[in-house]
Each structure stands twice: as C-alpha cells, then as structure tokens.
C-alpha cells in the first residue's frame, strides 16, 4: 500500500492555479524527487499535503487517513513532517531546545525529549554545539538543525523543501549523505531540489511540476531524457 496518495489535488489562489490536478503516490521507503521551475507549485504542494492550505480540490491520503481538513500539527502527529525552504530556527532557543520542541510531539518528559534530541543532533552531526543559540548558526548548520528538529518528531514521511539551497558543494554533499543514510534507515522522503545532479543521485522516482501541473513522472534516467522536461525545465544538453 502506498504511504502517501495525492489524488487530483488543485489549489487556486483567486484565478491562479498554483496546483492543478496533481496526482501521484509514494511507496514506503522511497525517495521522491519533486522538481520544476520557480513558481511551478512545489512548495504549494507541500503546503497542501501538510495542512497549511486546504486543497481546493482533490484528496491527500497518508497511511490510509484522509488528510483534508487536518491541521499541520495533526499531520505531524500522524507521522508526516516538513522542513522549510526559508529556514525557520527558533532563534532565541538553543540548538538542543529547538530539537526538543520537535521531540516533545512524542513525549511529555523533558529528559526523554533531550535524549531524543541529542540523538537526532548526532544524526545530522550537530551534536558538538547543543547549547548555541539557533539564531547564531551559519546557514549550513541551520539547514541541519531544521532536519534534526523534523526528525525528532519521529516521522514516517519527511518532506524536505530545498534543504540544499544556499549551501556550498561540501555542505550539499553532507546533506546528500544524510538523506541517503535516512533512506537506509527506512525513512520515506520527498525532496524538493534545484540541484539536478543531487536530485538524480538520490531519487528513486521524480515528479516534474510545471505551471502547477504534473508534467512528467518516472525514474531519474527517464526524466532526464524526457523531451517535455528538457524543454520546460532542464534545457538542452550542451555538448
């Protein structure tokens, strides 16, 4: 059974269709890449899936539960959590406290939450500065913090919104390794990314959005060779 089913989801803002009739589904344990030009509706789709916007039409089903009408906090407790393209650290809290906020979705004990948080900080390799204020971290570490905080809510499906955006190649590589490691642990992930090399490497399948519509879906090879995708987004190969 699919862990996530997106069926005919549309989202209108006034007359603008940010998403229009998007359908695809995800299997347990896979990494789904979500790509497309700016304004294609990738982040809007994340917002529709996670409860920030109710979809104007269509249905989202997660682990057999219909999500329409559920709030983001309820979606999180069901086991789906997202990160933000523009990182949102809780600036005046320390690094470990940020992650504890996530962990507290699963426990009421601060002690247990702290242990859980330290575990996640280890996973993203940020466990060397738990007591720093989150607001003072450089961008690379903020992105990691964002992932650690999401992981602390013990998700079954993690939605990463441009988690490599703004990072240097070394930092991006670290994030790629992190995503692959999380996959090895069985975590299902959906990844929005503009770095084509990265997305081709990590994705099992890729969905391409263009002007709010699904343009193509397939394996990385298939997508890279798809003439529609090349025309709309990737551009011609320069020999």
């Amino acid at each position: 059974m699919a862990i996530l089913d997106i069926e005919h989801v549309s989202k209108f803002f006034g007359g603008l269709a940010a998403n229009s009739d998007v359908s695809f589904s995800m299997e347990q344990g896979m990494i789904m890449g979500l790509i497309g030009p700016n304004g294609a509706g990738k982040t809007t789709l994340f917002n529709c899936i996670t409860g920030y916007y109710p979809p104007s039409k269509g249905e989202v089903t997660f682990k057999g539960t219909r999500l329409n009408g559920l709030q983001p906090d309820q979606v999180c407790r069901l086991g789906m959590v997202r990160t933000w393209q523009k990182v949102r650290p809780l600036a005046k809290l320390s690094v470990v406290d940020n992650v504890m906020v996530g962990a507290l979705a699963r426990t009421s004990s601060l002690r247990v939450a702290r242990e859980l948080a330290m575990e996640q900080l280890k996973v993203v390799r940020l466990d060397h500065k738990p007591d720093f204020l989150a607001g003072g971290l450089p961008i690379g570490e903020r992105k990691k913090l964002e992932v650690a905080r999401a992981l602390a809510t013990k998700p079954e499906l993690l939605l990463l919104d441009e988690v490599m955006g703004g990072l240097n190649p070394a930092e991006s590589e670290e994030i790629i390794q992190l995503i692959l490691e999380l996959k090895k642990r069985g975590l299902t992930q959906m990844v929005i990314e503009h770095d084509m090399k990265a997305i081709m490497r990590i994705s099992d399948r890729i969905v391409v959005l263009n002007s709010g519509e699904k343009l193509a879906e397939g394996g990385p090879r298939e997508i890279a060779d798809n003439p529609d995708v090349i025309a709309a987004y990737l551009g011609e190969r320069v020999e």
Binding site: R82, L93, M100, L104
Partner: protein, 367 residues
Amino acid sequence: MDRRPLLSRAPRGFSVLGLVLFVAAIAALAAFPSFVKKPYVLHMGVVLFLAIIQGQAWNVIGGYAGQYSVGHAAFFGIGAYVTMMLLELNKTAPWVGIWAAIAAAVLLSLVIGSITFRLRGPYFVLASISVTEIIRLAALHFKDFTRGAEGFLVTEIPTLKIGATEIEFFTKRPFYFAALGLAVVTIIANWAVQHSKLGYYFQAIREDQDAAHSLGINPAFYKNVALAISAAFTAAAGGFYAMFVKFIDPNTVFGLDVSVQFVLICIIGGIGTILGPVIGAMVLVPLSEILRNPKGLVQLGIVSSDSGFVRFIEANLSNAHMLVYGILVVVVILFAPEGVLGVIRRLATRLRRRTPSRGRTEPAATA
C-alpha cells in the same frame, strides 16, 4: 566581531545557587516586618509584591508565548470585582471568593482568547486593548449590577482562623505576608511552566508560529492555555488588590493604564525570564511612588522634609508619572531591549570573558 552567543536562554534544570538565593530572599523578606514596623514601608512592600505577581502573570503569555497582551486589566478587574462583590453582597470571605474570581478570569480568558488569537502581532495587541475597553465601559454602564463609577468599598474583611490563630486584616502586616506568599507561589508556578513541555511549546510559538505548527503544536490551543494560566494569576492579583486598597471602580481596575503597567514591568525588567519581572517591579514601583508621592521619602527618613528634591518633583512631575513611564520605555527599548536583566547579563558575560578562561566560554546558564 565575536559571533558566539552571549547567552543561551535555555532553561537548564535546577540551579542550586539560584534555589539557595531564592529561599534566602524569601526568608529575609519574611523576617523583614519583625524589624521594620513602619506601615508605610510595609505598604510599599505589598505594592512591590503585587507588581511582581502582575509581571510574572503577564510573562507567561507575553514573555514565553510572545503574545503582547495590553488587555490584562480585563483579568485584573474581573478578579477584583468578583472578590469584592462576593464579599460585599454575599459576605463570602476573600480567600474563598478569590477562587471564584480565578475561575471567572479563566473562563473570560477562553472567550477573549478565542476572539483575539485569530490575530497576530500588532493586530492582536489592538484587539486585546479593545476587548478590555469594552469590559471597562460595560462595567461603567451596567450600574444596577456593578454600581458603575460609584465603585465598591470594603466594609469589613472577616477574621481568618487557621487552627487556633486568628488573623485580622486591620494592619498592613497580614497583607504583607499574604502578598509575599502569593508572589512566591506565582514565581514557582512561572518556573514550573518554563521548565516543562508547556514552556517549550509557548516559546516555540513565540519564536515562529508556523514552524511550531509543523512540529505538532496547535498554536491556538497552547496560546489559550498560556492566557488561562496568566489570567488566573492576574485575577488573584486583582482580588488581592481590591482587598488591600479597599476601593475599586471600573477605571482603577479595568483602565488601560493598568494593562500598560503589566507590560511595563516585564519590558523594563526583561521579558521571558523569571528574574525580569522581579527587577522590573523593583524599578517601576519605587519610581512611580517617588513621582506620585515624594513625601514618602521624607516618611522613610531618606530626605529631610524641606528637601529641594521633593519640592522639585511635587512642583514639576507630580502628575507626570505616565510621561516618565513613556520616556523610560523609550530608553529601555533603545539601549536595553532585553531589559535591565539583559544589561546585567551582558556585563557579567563580558567580565567573565575578560578574565582569562580555559579558552572557551561556557554558555551562560539561566536562573
């Protein structure tokens, strides 16, 4: 520039030193009336404790949850009126009536919260002011029920019997101890909130409501919880105020200046900390007392009766305490946005850095 954080706000378990200082301060304050008997001094003690309670109460919603309510007079006034009316109309002892006052304030907070928490930032602030003004005007208007601007006067507070001891509320002394006790309870409650899941959730909402929402936090629910806790302690302060001052009318307990005072105590001391409201109260209470009643300094024997200072204040600033408050807030916002406590901490950290340490600076633990 040194980019390491100067301080970490993270609550770090139990500080033994903090606990010892806290207990020592309580002991000293409890022993204080045995040495100083001047009613005026005890009176000022009560006013100070009351301000601390107010600041701590506001801190829960304003400091931790980041919702700058400028409408706390609503809960203060409800606390005062319920306690007062139960005493005067029903002969209910205030230590019983105050529970009804707290319950009423919590109910009111849920109503106000469900209206105002739809709004964020400055819109929430404006809504909190408006709702409270509506309540003040209603209290003025429905004279049959509230006596309107005539207000209520305490005729007699019954004698409190605890076992064999009888406590009569004629002098300032019993009020002093009651206010001290209430302040201690409020501070402990505030500490407990800060060091719990609630505290984390409140602060997450303050820092970024959308991010908090995605991490399994229902912002509407937790803001209401914060407001309810805040309202409960505010109502207790209001009920106590009514019994202490012995007269209330809609303008003195529901007025906008009352709401502003709650915010000022925290802004001046340091928002979102336990010590902040205490320091804020210690700055604001003496300041406003000197401005309103400079002769108090003479009573205390600090200045002589023909002091030029007293005459200067009486002549120039006696009705200007709101103006001085305003200037004070501007100064604090410009030069000490984290309040007096923030300044103290920054200085302490800087001193510690100047002394040669083991290379790395430990993040400061918070009390």
